[in-house]
């Protein structure tokens, strides 16, 4: 049992030490004041004894007292005369206690030492408690500070989430919605103000819900972490992006959904689409005006001859009328083509012989000067069909053929090839032997407003529209280009496909 630790400072006889140890004290011995510094464990009393008592001065005593956290210091004196005057000053100042040899033999010294040790211990405990108390105050201060920061951050986060113009929905791995902002309301299934705590499949519109569903199912597969979808609700269009949310260890812990209102953009696209269609109509109109001149002049010439020539030979008249009839039909079909193209109804899909569409398209452009020195080579497989809206295909081919002619600066060979791509698709290749598409712009050719033509000569929308039409027709478009040979490939379905819900379009 250890009831306390006592350090003897100075040399003393061992009987007293032994009795203290018997009593339960741990006793340590240092020869001088400076030896105290080498003691690493706590102690409760310093007993200055032996020869040192006579030599030790006030300063050293105070040093001992203060250097050891007010651990009591006692002088063990032979008798009451052994104390110096100076030493008495420190006794009276309360820094040290005085013990006498006789007290050892009388046995009265032990209770006094016990009292000093207990006192020291109490003091030390009190000091520790005070220290602890002071530490807790600091801790409380820090906690309050952290709380303030946290509140601030939460306000900032809430403000960010609330002020951001994109809608945000976060749900956990179980599909419970844990965070939303007001812009997310566009994809709520009903006019609920708050869906936090609900399951995604009972709170979001079906398209958004199915996207979350897919995202949740694939969340642990590394391959696909971003899903994109265009969603229409009423008059609004939203681009919805679904991301896997990762924790600090890169483990998925939820789904983050961003919802962008693209209604305005979509409306602009519709307008652009319409304006591009008008531009195409413009090209076709002037082509048609030109195309009509030939049959009209023939009809006029035939009629005049039939009217003025005397001696009506029935066979000859028959020839005239048949010619007039044939040329009239030609005029009608030219005009009908334009009407078909401009008719603003929903897409009228059907089966068409692809070579017929290509030939029709060529009639709209071939009269143009730029085609004067262009040889058109056709390699058609005539039985091939394409399924879709004929007038939109005309627009696609018109753009690609005009671009090819422009690319060759009106001189060269334009080759149009059709062939079967698969059992359910037809491939159309439009090749020119112009200088080719520069590597630096290859990834831009389908971008809206990108044009290599001079100002005023191209809207830069042609290929963007072509791209859109081909995609919407469930087709594909790509190109290869090197100096002297540029080919645009269009693969179109030759059979009606079962419609699938809103193709996900990722152009990378």
């Amino acid at each position: 049992m250890n009831i306390g630790s006592i350090v003897f400072v100075g040399i003393d006889d061992s009987l007293f030490k032994t009795s203290l140890m018997n009593r339960g004290y741990t006793v340590m011995q240092v020869s001088g004041v400076s030896g105290i510094m080498n003691i690493n464990e706590p102690f409760d009393l310093m007993l200055v004894c032996g020869e040192l008592v006579a030599d030790i001065d006030n300063r050293s005593l105070e040093q001992l007292y203060f250097a050891n956290n007010s651990t009591p210091v006692a002088l063990l004196l032979k008798d009451h005369r052994a104390i110096t005057r100076q030493q008495l000053e420190t006794v009276s100042a309360g820094f040290i206690d005085v013990l006498y040899d006789f007290e050892i033999s009388a046995g009265t010294i032990y209770p006094r030492i016990d009292a000093l040790v207990i006192n020291a211990r109490l003091n030390r405990n009190m000091r520790r408690q005070q220290q602890d108390f002071e530490n807790r105050e600091d801790l409380e201060k820090e906690i309050m500070l952290r709380e303030k920061i946290l509140i601030h951050e939460r306000v900032v986060n809430t403000n960010i989430v609330g002020s951001i113009t994109s809608g945000i929905i976060i749900c956990d791995l179980k599909g419970t919605i844990i965070l939303t902002n007001k812009h997310a309301q566009g994809v709520y299934s009903s006019a609920k103000a708050d869906i936090i705590g609900l399951q995604y499949d009972e709170s979001l519109v079906p398209e958004a819900s199915s996207l979350v569903d897919t995202a949740l199912k694939s969340i642990f597969s590394t391959s696909r972490r971003t899903l994109t979808k265009k969603i229409r609700t009423g008059d609004f269009f939203f681009a919805v992006y679904c991301y896997s949310m990762l924790d600090y260890q890169n483990a998925p812990n939820g789904i983050l959904m961003l919802i962008n209102d693209i209604t305005e953009q979509e409306n602009i696209n519709v307008l652009l689409y319409r304006s591009e269609k008008l531009a195409t109509v413009g090209t076709m109109m002037s082509g048609i005006a030109h195309e009509l001149r030939n049959p009209l002049s023939i009809i006029s010439a035939r009629t005049q001859r039939a009217l003025t020539k005397t001696g009506h030979d029935p066979e000859w008249l028959d020839k005239c009328f048949k010619s007039i009839e044939a040329q009239t039909k030609r005029c009608a079909s030219i005009v009908n083509n334009l009407l078909n193209f401009t008719r603003n109804t929903a897409t009228t899909s059907g089966y068409n012989a692809v070579y017929e569409i290509l030939d029709e398209t060529l009639t709209y452009v071939e009269y143009q000067n730029i085609f004067d020195n262009i040889t058109v080579q056709k390699r058609y497989e005539k039985e091939l069909l394409v399924y879709g809206d004929r007038s939109r295909f005309v627009q696609v081919f018109l753009n690609l053929i005009t671009n090819a002619a422009d690319a060759m600066s009106g001189k060269g060979l334009l080759t149009i090839v059709t062939r079967q791509a698969s059992s359910s698709s037809t491939l159309i290749e439009i090749n020119d032997n112009g200088p080719g598409i520069d590597d630096t712009i290859k990834d831009k050719v389908f971008d809206p407003f990108f044009t290599t033509k001079e100002p005023g000569k191209g809207t830069g929308l042609g290929l963007a529209i072509v791209y859109k039409i081909v995609l919407e027709s469930n087709g594909k478009i790509w190109f290869t280009s090197k100096p002297g040979s540029t080919s645009f490939f269009i693969q179109l379905p030759s059979k009606k496909e079962r419609s699938h819900d809103g193709a996900t379009v990722n152009r990378g």
Partner: protein, 302 residues
């Protein structure tokens, strides 16, 4: 001797009509469906005139005429098109072709006949060739006469359409004939011109005008023959071609604007030239709507 014509067109119906019509007119006619076929026929037979469509698959009309000019320089050549001749002015300049007929609606058989006849014979001068009605004539000797004759002709026109159109161009044509044609003034030194000039005998500008039931026309003839076919095509083309700034190349020129404006405003502008002898500018305007928008290129040098 009967003239032999070769007509080339990829429209079988048109070929048929033209062959029939020209046979009726007393020509010998052969037909070809394209340039290659025409060249093959030309190898075996000689012709007085080659009539070719411009826009055909394979060899185009301009190309065919250029080949024919190399191989058979004596043979006359003319192009024909259903399309707008303005689109072909650049080619006309490059190939030095002054004659492009138009397939108009209504089809103008009379004009085709006249055009072909004009090319085959050198007898191209005189308004009477172009209009059946009574021809009125006047000679301009002094610069003051220009205004007088101009007013006489405008007064003669029997519709606002004719009056308006001729008023826009006739003054310009008369001034050109008087100062450039007869006097040979430099248009770039207009400030130095003597406006009180009298032309010598034999230098007068001869003006004639007439009308029939479908058109009115004016002929302005100088007796010097300074104008050149190449220059006329060059000026007309230059004024219809836009530069990089979108402005007509001929806008700043001193020459040629009168001819360009006349061609734009009046339905027909026919220019007959006998180098060193005479230049005749025939302007013809049809009644409302007839052959509107189809303007042949009709420049003859004999």
């Amino acid at each position: 001797m009967t003239a032999r014509l070769l007509i080339v067109d990829d429209e079988p119906d048109f070929l048929d009509i033209m062959t029939e019509f020209l046979l009726d007119e007393g020509y010998e006619v052969l037909a070809a469906a394209n340039g290659e076929e025409a060249l093959a026929i030309l190898q075996k037979n000689s012709f007085d005139l080659l009539i070719s469509d411009i826009n055909m698959p394979g060899m185009k009309g301009f190309e065919l005429l250029a080949r024919a000019a190399e191989l058979y320089p004596a043979m006359k050549r003319v192009l024909i098109t259903a399309y707008d001749v303005r689109d072909y002015l650049n080619m006309a300049k490059n190939f030095n072709i002054g004659n492009i007929m138009t397939k108009t609606t209504p089809f103008n058989f009379e004009e085709i006949k006249l055009f072909i006849n004009n090319i085959l014979t050198a007898a191209i001068f005189g308004l009477g060739k172009y209009i059946k009605g009574t021809v009125h004539q006047a000679a301009i000797r002094t610069s003051d006469d220009i205004e007088i004759v101009n007013n006489m002709i405008i007064g003669f026109m029997n519709s606002d359409r004719h009056k308006r159109k001729f008023r826009q161009v006739l003054g310009e044509i008369l001034i050109n004939a008087f100062f450039y044609g007869a006097k040979n003034e430099d248009p770039e030194k207009k400030h130095g011109w003597n406006f009180n000039t009298t032309l010598n005998q034999g230098e007068e500008v001869l003006v004639s005008w007439a009308r029939d039931n479908e058109k009115s026309g004016v002929s302005v003839l100088d007796q010097k023959g300074r104008l050149k076919k190449n220059d006329v095509i060059y000026w007309i083309e230059r004024n219809t071609t836009k530069g990089d700034d979108g402005i007509s190349l001929g806008l700043g020129d001193c020459h040629g604007k009168g001819l360009f404006i006349t061609r734009e405003i009046i339905d027909r502008m026919i220019i007959n030239i006998e180098p060193g002898k005479k230049t005749e500018v025939v302007t013809i305007n049809y009644e409302e709507g007839l052959y509107d928008g189809h303007r042949p290129l009709w420049i003859q040098e004999v």
